[in-house]
């Protein structure tokens, strides 16, 4: 044991100095969800299958839908990604999602595919 321990004094440490060194995630990591409004057909199957009721699909026009995701309720299981028949939801690799203000965790994906955070001033 002593020789192994002494060897380690001269090796590079196994821990990294996060957050100054970024953590690398593998492909197909289940991070924050991304919604493609042009592919959604409004079947609402993702809402039925979500274990924590984190995703809401709202109708904003004829065959146009927008999506509200609660990042604090989502468990990042990506069941909605599997269930969607048109592959309108995608899981990204983003995982640093912590916020101090709880209202910033409600993400609205509008139909023009620009992500807008829910704000109270009524501007889009």
């Amino acid at each position: 044991m002593a020789s192994e321990v002494l060897n380690h004094v001269f090796k590079k440490p196994a821990t990294v100095n996060y957050p100054f060194v970024k953590a690398v995630k593998p492909d197909k990591f289940r991070g924050k969800l991304l919604f493609h409004a042009d592919k959604c057909i409004g079947c609402m199957l993702c809402m039925k299958d979500c274990p924590s009721n984190a995703i809401t699909i709202k109708k904003v026009g004829e065959k146009k839908f927008e999506c509200i995701i609660d990042l604090d309720k989502c468990v990042y299981c990506a069941q909605c990604v599997d269930t969607c028949p048109k592959k309108a939801i995608e899981a990204t690799k983003e995982f640093e999602l912590a916020q101090i203000d709880r209202s910033k965790l409600k993400i609205v994906y509008k139909n023009d595919n620009a992500e807008v955070k829910k704000d109270t001033q009524g501007q889009s």
Partner: protein, 406 residues
């Protein structure tokens, strides 16, 4: 020194999860012990009845962080048996691969925790560094480091590419080298052996009588392993050895777990060499026909039993989980008889307790008003507990507000 009663838990640095051990001491010797569990009860079984089977999968997976695949697979196996589905072979192999990887990560975690409880922090840091290899493998295969969510009703959600197979085999080789080093430490490091041997002895007869399962039972000579006695998933195709030891103490449990690690590496190599081609999932209708099933699984801690009753809708009627720690925690009192205070952390850690898995039961209380009520609603329960604390402990908790989100 006179007799003292010292509380270990519910909050204590030695315990990773809350449980209460009330110990009566005479100096450093233990005279008596009272065990209480139930601090981690979250009402999961009731919550399962209000969600569909697909939603339940993710809920059941989060019963425990270390053995999440265990609970998920056990539940899915019961549901698939009621639905009468035949699983594709490739899906079964992938399920077994993730199960064995989970066993590796759980045993390495246990090795580190055992080292920490005896003050051997170096072992903790080394084994958890090697555990990172397994966690990265699982993240590559399933998309997440814990709560893998690889199961779905009728199969698995992701397929495995030949590149991933090659990476897995290479990393398993690295892990096998490191595990050989840990076997050497466990059998040759003198201070560790001093702390682990002759501690927490459980004789063979006691183990059978108290119903110890998993490595706790196997270290006392009980030859039980669900993978061999009642094969599920792909275990019928694998050849492996069941590690039984006769030391009857914590050192025996260490040796059993480390030997199981070596067996897991062999099993993973067999799986990846013989994995058949084909689909990984079959389509299962959302409504499961009426029926009931009991499924068993060899978790890293022992035998895990799930019972599911379906009634033709898309929500289960009753789900019941019996975790292995519930079977092992009865044996702790027998192990600690005539032991020392300094041994309590390591003996409790040696059964690999997971109290999050254990606290499942809904006990219906004897009602104070002697009316025949078996189910109490939330408001009555809250009033009952406030009254009890006011009468028996002199505390007034009625001013505590309940959050409006519920």
């Amino acid at each position: 020194m006179a007799k003292v009663t010292i509380p270990i838990g519910p909050q204590h640095p030695a315990l990773k999860e809350p449980a209460s051990f009330n110990i009566t001491l005479d100096g450093e010797k233990i005279l008596d012990m009272i065990v209480k569990v139930g601090y981690n009860h979250r009402g999961i079984e009731k919550a399962c009845e209000q969600r569909t089977y697909i939603q339940d999968m993710y809920l059941i997976e989060r019963i425990c962080g270390i053995c999440s695949h265990t609970h998920s697979t056990c539940f899915i196996q019961a549901v698939e048996e009621i639905a009468g589905v035949q699983m594709p072979k490739r899906g079964l192999y992938i399920r077994t691969l993730v199960a064995e990887l989970e066993r590796i990560h759980s045993h390495l975690l246990w090795l580190g925790v055992a080292g920490h409880e005896v003050g051997f922090d170096t072992l903790l840091m080394y084994s958890w560094r090697d555990r990172e290899i397994v966690m990265d493998l699982l993240a590559m295969l399933t998309g997440n480091r814990v709560n893998y969510a690889i199961n779905t009703i009728g199969g698995v959600r992701r397929d495995i590419t030949p590149e991933q197979i090659k990476t897995t085999l290479a990393q398993v080789d690295v892990l096998e080298e490191r595990t050989k080093y840990y076997i050497q430490v466990a059998t040759e490091e003198i201070t560790l052996i001093e702390r682990l041997s002759k501690v927490g002895t459980l004789s063979h007869d006691d183990a059978i009588r108290l119903g110890a399962v998993g490595p706790t039972g196997r270290a006392s000579g009980a030859d039980i392993d669900v993978r061999r006695d009642d094969p599920y998933a792909a275990y019928a195709d694998l050849s492996f050895k069941v590690c039984v030891d006769n030391h009857n103490d914590v050192l025996g449990r260490t040796i059993v777990r480390v030997s199981e690690l070596m067996e897991s590496y062999k099993m993973i190599r067999q799986l990846l060499k013989n994995i058949p081609e084909g689909p990984v999932v079959v389509k299962v209708p959302r409504k499961i026909p009426a029926g009931e099933a009991l499924s068993r699984y060899e978790a890293p801690r022992g035998e895990d039993v799930h019972y599911v009753k379906a009634n033709g809708t898309d929500k289960p009627e009753r789900v019941r989980v019996r975790a292995p720690t519930l079977a092992n925690v009865q044996a702790v009192a027998a192990m600690l008889k005539n032991g020392y205070l300094a041994d309590i952390p390591i003996v409790v850690a040696a059964i690999d307790p997971c109290f999050s898995c254990t606290d499942r039961m809904m006990v219906s209380m004897k009602d104070v008003n002697a009316s025949k009520e078996n189910v109490i609603d939330w408001k009555t329960l809250r009033k009952y507990s406030i009254d009890w604390y006011r009468q028996n402990r002199g505390l007034d908790l009625s001013k505590i507000k309940i959050s409006k989100r519920w």
